[in-house]
Symmetry: C3
Subunit: 422 residues, 3 copies
């Protein structure tokens, strides 16, 4: 990007951006006959291309201890202007270790969520991270406090849906209790639903920058809004968990719990807790990563129902690089190839192979959201530190779904991404 | 922000931005029982947080005499992309005093409207300024001419709603006469409705930069579009005036005239005029400011009906600073604390106390828009010249409203804002 | 704009933008009585003003051979955030002549389309270019390859509608085959519909930079999606061609084929081809330009039906400049006045006169889209290389239309534009 600063570093401003161009080809696409109730609702996945993310951001420092960041994603939000806002916060740094921020920022939860989507190993995040953290809009408004040392990090936050936000994974007004005629900012919906989050991570073993073990744990409590009219009928609110199958050009929610608050009020989701455990090992060009996340649903008609899943993968750099780790965030950072690609002088950039397993279960006694597991292979080419080409093959191993014809469907997807960030 | 320029200053470019993170807690929220006709329409104000403004702008100078500015507010517009545009103009400067501009810019009217929202004393503008100027979209397209000397300023404009604009304070197509199948830019609506505006202001007494009196007057004529079908029925157009109560996280229009053009054509607002008088006194750390605005409605069924109001407040800098005034615009400018906040070396920034009274009356013989008055207290902390924390307490003194249960409601709000601009 | 680069030029970043403020006054507006079926649908053209384009873009080079560009138009897209994206691509340069790009970029087709809208002679592109290339969204996603030498250029691409795009010239889901519950990115619609495009152009005669002849040819094959439900009824897809009359503030589609795929399936547009021939002559301050484009419709109910048209115009710089040509793109480039406008020292910038003829025919045996021809006059003032004022008079010579009362309408329009780009 573009960065300008004063010599003492007390004033800085930087302009950053990223673009991800994706394609999806569904090589095997065997589903059941179309949903009988509505012939329009066929159930194949679509092939296609799309701009996955197109973000511009400005960040800066003023008077040494004061930071700010604003970033906008021009492909986000389905037509609601305000919904494209990702980071939008002010921060005060007590010292290099401790800081407090206010505004819109990511929930501190999970290694894969803490990692920028520019630095993921596979094209999409794994299903548990998407379903439990990223899909229900991880960019919430509130206050956060961070403390980090070289070997460990603590991040905490108290956040809520901004007024007017539509959590992307749920129904359009899922977190709203506002009913004053849709007069809120950003076209109605959205209100409190406060949550508290914390993530603690660190390196119990670190021989060098290229040989270490990372572990961590996250916890979260989320209050859910439910708004009933004076005559007792349901107006809006509730919550739903949905999942795609490691794809995103076609965004069909193959797994979907539906709104956990019923229209007739027989079931009401009042709050849920999330717990996550994470680990990653880097050993030279080899690395491995695994996470487990569970979400426990409470409320009328639920008995601490648990939705859960895990994923694990290994990656190997054919060209000898190691995954790059950032102590400040306890997450992955930009990879610098040993030798950049240059067609004329013979450098070939960095090449990475990865293989993984991904599993999620949204079924309980009271919830029928489906269950899926996939196996995936990835090949990443980094011509230099800022460009990237990715190819993924996703094989769906097992699929239990109540969404149209997707139950027991036989699906294989080939996905590609071209990415630049600056 | 980021500013680059050539040595002679003939070429410049600057990147600017602002973020305002707001919260609203309704401490007292006593309203009448919900509107009986529709149990969904409860009438309490909602607590919550929101991103009030998130703007990025580029401005520059080329070939010495030519300026431009473009600014976009990413939280504005309720889903209509084009509606987030604020300033978007080209300007030619004859000399330092006289300039002509064309494009989208603010109507020249009122001291508080002329003041950037970054430099307001209270979190929200006072009710008359919001209702008569800011809410019906003050960023209109047209031509403007400005002349300024050190002791006085004249600003004039001839502007109109851009094709496709939705005036935020009125119904969605309030200023439109376009009916060709919604084929206009920005999703239909919006057309001529020309208006002429002027503001004259100056300093009759000025002892120094910190001891002076500012006075001014504004006038405006606005033509309103009304579009009737060939069979005589009303299609769209008209105008409405609405108001919130010095709050903005919950945007319920507690005061609302409804469309002043009736569907059956018995009442038609054809045009309105606005007049404003403004004054401000700075005396060292003390300052006082007051404005009066009236709007006169003309048309079928109206007899020059007058909507009006006023506000006044005093402010005192505990840390000794004076409000900063800009002669070029005849409005308030950025405050620079005597000593910036620095936790480690002991500076505490600037601290300001303010108390005000705010009144608006939207009732006449022919219009029942309601009436409200509030008392408010503010505490502002400026850790440095670009960051700001604000706290406001709003006490509603008197409320006459035809909007659901808000008539005679007992309301006390606590609002906070964290702001950065760069 | 703002451009920063390293000394060796291997790393660059630039921030660019443009604004166009337009007005339209319909001097003669004689149409037939309003469409009898719906009195709301009157058929006059509206007067008004609008922000035609407001774009910001970032482009850069990294590691010498790698480029990127992202540009967003804040007035584009009718409320769909993602639809404002224009260029969004990554590019690799083999050498100065050959490059490959991936992402969103313009189809390589036609001289007038290849020319930036900042450098057009008239305010709007001619009807055939708008109708056949620009209106159906020329910014598509795919891969492209370019080869250029000083005297000739070859551009090819393989592109498609991004998932979720609404082609602006057609019905809202015209290119979509996605029916999985509208779960695609950007609010549904949009899918494959692949197309292949190529443009070859060059200068068979070039005496100097100000005396030369440009000629070129373009060809394109476009596959159209049609989605029928299992019971045989039409769901979405198809394609329509529409046209305004060299105006854009009022965007009524006076010419309109309607969807070439009928709801009952009796007519289905399966694909179409486009062919274009272009020529331009520069001879000192004089220039002339002409293009012909035809579109051939194939499918059920069509017998290679041909829609076609042409335009031609001459331009003369009163102040002696010549049109500026760029070999890299085979298109027009920025004009630099011999002497900039400076009120105080007496420079008057550049002045250009232009006169043109514009014709399109959307009628065939099977298609009744209408037919129009216009004569137009233009006067352009370039106070300097980055500001521009334009005035156009459009006289409609002949109008055959099935759209409401526009058939044989008598229309004269006066349009103005103020433009800055940086």
């Amino acid at each position: 990007g573009l960065e300008l600063k004063t010599k003492d570093g007390n004033f800085k401003i930087a302009l950053n951006g990223r673009m991800q161009v994706d394609s999806q080809v569904n090589v095997v696409n065997e589903v059941s006959p179309a949903f009988s109730g509505n012939p329009a609702l066929t159930n194949k996945l679509d092939d296609g291309v799309g701009l996955r993310r197109a973000r511009l951001g400005v960040e800066g420092t003023m008077f040494k201890d004061f930071d700010y960041k604003f970033e906008y994603d021009f492909t986000r939000g389905n037509g609601t202007t305000g919904a494209g806002v990702t980071d939008a916060y002010l921060r005060w740094n007590y010292d290099k270790a401790f800081s407090i921020k206010v505004g819109s920022f990511k929930e501190p939860f999970s290694l894969e969520e803490a990692t920028s989507n520019r630095f993921l190993t596979f094209i999409e995040r794994n299903m548990i991270v998407n379903t439990f953290i990223d899909n229900p809009n991880t960019y919430k408004i509130g206050v956060g406090a961070n403390y980090s040392q070289e070997r460990y990090q603590i991040a905490t936050s108290f956040q809520t849906e901004p007024v007017g936000a539509n959590p992307s994974g749920s129904t359009s007004s899922a977190s709203s209790i506002n009913t004053n005629g849709g007069s809120n900012r950003n076209n109605g919906s959205g209100d409190t639903g406060w949550e508290a989050n914390a993530r603690v991570s660190g390196m119990p073993w670190m021989e060098s920058k290229t040989k270490f073990l990372h572990i961590g744990a996250s916890g979260s409590y989320v209050d859910v809004n439910n708004n009933f009219r004076q005559n007792g009928t349901f107006n809006n609110g509730g919550f739903s968990f949905v999942s795609v199958l490691d794809n995103n050009v076609d965004r069909s929610n193959v797994l979907n719990t539906g709104n956990l608050t019923n229209a007739n009020g027989s079931k009401i989701v009042e709050d849920f807790t999330r717990f996550g455990a994470e680990s990653a090992l880097v050993y030279g060009p080899w690395s491995a990563q695994a996470e487990y996340i569970q979400t426990n649903i409470s409320g009328k008609g639920y008995h601490n129902d648990t939705l859960e899943g895990y994923y694990g993968y290994v990656s190997y750099f054919l060209t000898g690089e190691s995954r790059n780790y950032k102590s400040k965030t306890g997450a992955w950072d930009r990879l610098k190839p040993s030798r950049n690609f240059d067609f004329h002088s013979g450098g070939w950039g960095a090449w990475e192979l990865a293989a993984g397993w991904d599993y999620i279960d949204l079924n309980t006694d009271n919830i029928k959201g489906g269950r899926a597991s996939t196996a995936k292979l990835g090949l990443n080419w980094y011509p230099n530190s800022h460009f990237r080409l990715m190819g993924n093959i996703i094989h769906v191993l097992d699929l239990n779904s109540t969404t149209r014809g997707f139950n027991k469907a036989d699906l294989d997807m080939f996905e590609m991404r071209a990415q630049v960030d600056f």
